[in-house]
């Protein structure tokens, strides 16, 4: 087939897009898209939680015989780290509002580091549990643990990558307002990731 035939087939020409009036949406597109994405994520986790509740209700012994208990205390400390990092993000936004960009970037970085510590400690915990003989296939108990906590861990990791990437916004010469609005979607994601953790911790570790 000749390209010339196709040239004007599906799309004809183009339009000059300069001088378009700027829209002022009530919620910025990035934030709105992220909120919709988080609705899906909440449903994803509620699917996992449903699975946990139903499978657990069907078993008489929990944890099953021969499976280790979960380290409640060290994970409580870990939970604390995550919550502090959310506060750091909150502080960072506050500083940005007051136009203190260096302070804001420091707190942003702090949040990232705390999140990173959380991941490392989790990884250490997993290594120990594996040594105690708790694997994916050793029982549904182990499988559910690695599934739910692992899914959350992956989300933490993804959000951390985003936050690290978002750090460059501080380096570019921009108004603090642009920085703030560019960072907002990933910070919302971070709040979500932090916010859902206490629920999962209570569900999987405590009760």
């Amino acid at each position: 087939m000749k390209w010339s035939l196709l040239q004007h087939l599906l799309v004809a020409g183009e339009v000059n897009l300069e001088n378009r009036p700027k829209r002022k949406p009530i919620v910025p597109s990035g934030v709105f898209g992220m909120v919709i994405f988080i609705i899906t994520e909440v449903m994803f986790f509620s699917g996992l939680v449903s699975a946990y509740l139903i499978i657990r209700a069907g078993l008489e012994e929990w944890p099953p015989w021969g499976q280790p208990r979960l380290p409640i205390e060290s994970t409580a400390f870990n939970t604390l780290l995550l919550i502090i990092s959310a506060f750091a993000v909150y502080q960072s936004r506050k500083f940005l509002k007051n136009n203190l960009i260096t302070k804001a970037s420091q707190f942003h970085l702090g949040a990232i580091l705390l999140g990173f510590c959380f991941l490392v400690l989790q990884g250490y915990e997993w290594v120990q549990l594996l040594q105690f003989g708790m694997t994916l296939s050793s029982s549904v108990y182990g499988a559910l643990f690695y599934l739910i906590i692992g899914a959350h861990g992956l989300h933490v990791f993804g959000a951390l990558v985003l936050m690290t990437y978002g750090f460059i916004h501080f380096k570019r010469e921009k108004s603090f307002e642009t920085i703030s609005s560019n960072l907002l979607p990933m910070q919302i994601l971070w709040y979500f990731v932090v916010g859902i953790w206490p629920l999962l911790y209570t569900l999987v570790y405590l009760i």
Partner: protein, 571 residues
């Protein structure tokens, strides 16, 4: 997950203007919403051909069991299972969703609400690319050792979870992976649609000036986004069961097979409304234009759609009436299931009221739309029988269910798709389709469709169970009467498929050689008819301003019987 969000962040920055582009940039890696819409549409149509071919193969086997099927070969029991499974999966996930939602959503939303492109164009492109990969993975799964997955599109464990049971070790996993990727693709697309509709409407377009079809696609997308999470969770768990030795769904290892049904149908029922609503929107557009009357009850239709959406989250257990759920719970779901037919019926009444007293023009899109109303009615009404759990104990997993959902899905997917293609063809390609061939195609599809599925109600009531490759093995089902009904249905299907060649010929012939289309051939009000056909990159030479709703037809005191949305009141 991170990547999606990252893409969102990227897209907030404006994208640069397009210049002279190579073929690849223009048609393959384009970020233009119209091209992405076309990509979805053509991929969907190719998948529809594959799905139809599968249907042909297994219907031939049912009519003449054990005989070699021309153009396919022998269909044994394992192949039969693989064919029905993938037929269902393809038609729902790779035809209905990409064509009705992704293709028309992409193509229509920016044009109908008056903006240059989607809010996140690169996210949009990524969405199609993932979708394409998912389709390729599915096709690949037909060719691995053991063949394609054969555990039904609902994929119930333990059958689907244990390779020793389903005998399709890799087919099952690839099938699951393909469905997973497809869902991710639609999540990206869906975020885009809703955000675009929310934030990029032309100046003056209020919530109640949005064309119904855009509303419907958005409601469908929101339903999809809010219901798909548990299915993704279930799919991951099933994948673990298949590949990593867990036993989430395997009773011997402490799992619970009912859990899968719980998670699957929580998504599964909203899903049927996800595909239904866009077609309802398409039909609403077509019916108003060709009866030259204001749409009856714009707000009513909208509110019934909201109602349907809300209710669709609380009916799913009607698929499990005989699966062992608590009967007290079953009864709650009987009530909600029967409740949900009320808003749907109300929507149909609105359409009929729009037709009433209009000056109806029987063009091809209108024929498709009317055909949709008639046949979907049968599908909805038979759903009410199934919704009564006492009746469902008999009807469940029989051909009555098959006939029920084909009387809903065929009108929605195939009829709705043809309605939309014939209606928007002049805008998409700048040329008119041949009316005579179009009408031949319509009757050649509509009549055999009824010839195919009406008899299935009968065999279903006679007790014919679904997912059986050869009924002649069962004395009660082998009677010559039943067999002749099966043959009748199969012959209808073959006729139906043959008539699709008329469409294919007409489609490509009109695309290159059809009569040049005027700007607004149907004299419609919505914005997409104001741009040149096919629309240029960036769509509108000048951003339109909206002065009224989309359905002002036959307004008294006006010379023309239509009043486009963008004309100032004094024009």
């Amino acid at each position: 997950m991170g990547q999606q969000a990252e893409a969102i962040l990227h897209e907030t920055e404006a994208h640069d203007a397009h210049h002279e582009m190579s073929f690849w940039d223009k048609y393959i890696f384009s970020v233009d919403h119209k091209i992405i819409g076309f990509q979805y549409m053509f991929t969907g149509l190719i998948m529809a051909a594959i799905g139809g071919y599968f249907a042909y193969a297994f219907r031939m086997q049912l009519a003449w069991p054990g005989e070699e099927v021309p153009f396919y070969g022998l269909v044994d029991a394992a192949k039969y299972n693989m064919l029905v499974t993938n037929h269902g999966t393809i038609m729902i996930f790779w035809v209905a969703m990409p064509v009705l939602i992704a293709a028309f959503g992409n193509w229509l939303i920016p044009l109908m609400i008056g903006c240059d492109d989607m809010v996140f164009p690169r996210l949009n492109r990524l969405s199609y690319q993932i979708f394409l990969v998912s389709a390729l993975v599915l096709i690949l799964s037909f060719f691995v050792t053991g063949g394609g997955f054969g555990g039904a599109w609902t994929s119930y464990p333990p059958l689907s979870a244990v390779a020793a049971y389903n005998l399709t070790n890799w087919g099952a996993s690839l099938w699951l992976l393909a469905v997973f990727l497809e869902i991710v693709a639609f999540l990206l697309g869906g975020i885009n649609f809703v955000t675009t509709t929310m934030n990029a409407r032309a100046p003056g377009m209020g919530m109640m000036d949005i064309p119904i079809v855009v509303w419907m696609i958005n409601i469908a997308v929101i339903l999809f986004m809010a219901s798909v999470g548990p299915l993704v969770a279930g799919a991951v768990m099933l994948f673990f069961d298949q590949r990593l030795g867990t036993s989430f769904f395997i009773p011997s290892g402490g799992g619970d097979p009912l859990l899968w049904e719980h998670l699957f149908w929580f998504f599964g029922h909203p899903e049927v409304y996800v595909v239904l609503l866009p077609t309802m929107g398409i039909v609403a557009e077509i019916i108003t234009v060709f009866s030259r009357k204001k749409l009856f009850g714009y707000r009513t239709i909208l509110y019934t759609a909201f109602g349907t959406g809300g209710l669709s989250f609380i009916v799913w257990a009607h698929h499990q009436f005989v699966a062992g759920i608590d009967p007290r719970m079953a009864n709650v779901f009987v009530v909600t299931t029967i409740l949900i037919s009320i808003p749907i019926a109300e929507m149909l009444f609105s359409f009929i009221a729009t037709l009433y007293g209009g000056s109806i023009e029987f063009s091809t899109p209108m024929l498709w739309a009317l055909g949709f109303l008639v046949s979907f009615l049968i599908g909805g009404v038979t759903g009410i029988y199934l919704g009564a759990s006492a009746l469902d104990v008999y009807f469940h997993d029989s051909y009555f269910v098959i006939a029920h959902f084909h009387y809903t899905f065929f009108p929605i997917t195939i009829i709705g798709m043809f309605a939309a293609i014939t209606y928007w063809f002049p805008k998409m390609f700048g040329r008119m389709m041949d009316e005579t061939l179009n009408k031949i195609h319509f009757w050649g599809t509509f009549i055999p469709f009824n010839g195919l599925f009406l008899p299935l109600f009968l065999v279903g009531m006679a007790g014919q169970h679904r997912r059986i490759a050869d009924f002649t093995q069962y004395p009660d089902l082998a009677s010559p009467d039943l067999q002749s009904i099966r043959i009748f249905a199969t012959v209808s299907l073959v006729i139906l498929l043959l008539f699709q060649f008329v469409f294919i010929y007409n489609f490509f012939n009109s695309m290159f050689k059809g009569k040049k289309a005027p700007l607004n051939p149907w004299k419609a009000n919505t914005l997409e008819w104001t741009v040149s056909s096919p629309p240029p990159h960036g769509n509108f030479a000048e951003l339109p301003t909206i002065y009224r709703g989309p359905y002002e037809y036959s307004v008294p005191g006006r010379e023309e019987d239509y009043w486009p949305q963008h004309l100032a009141p004094n024009q």
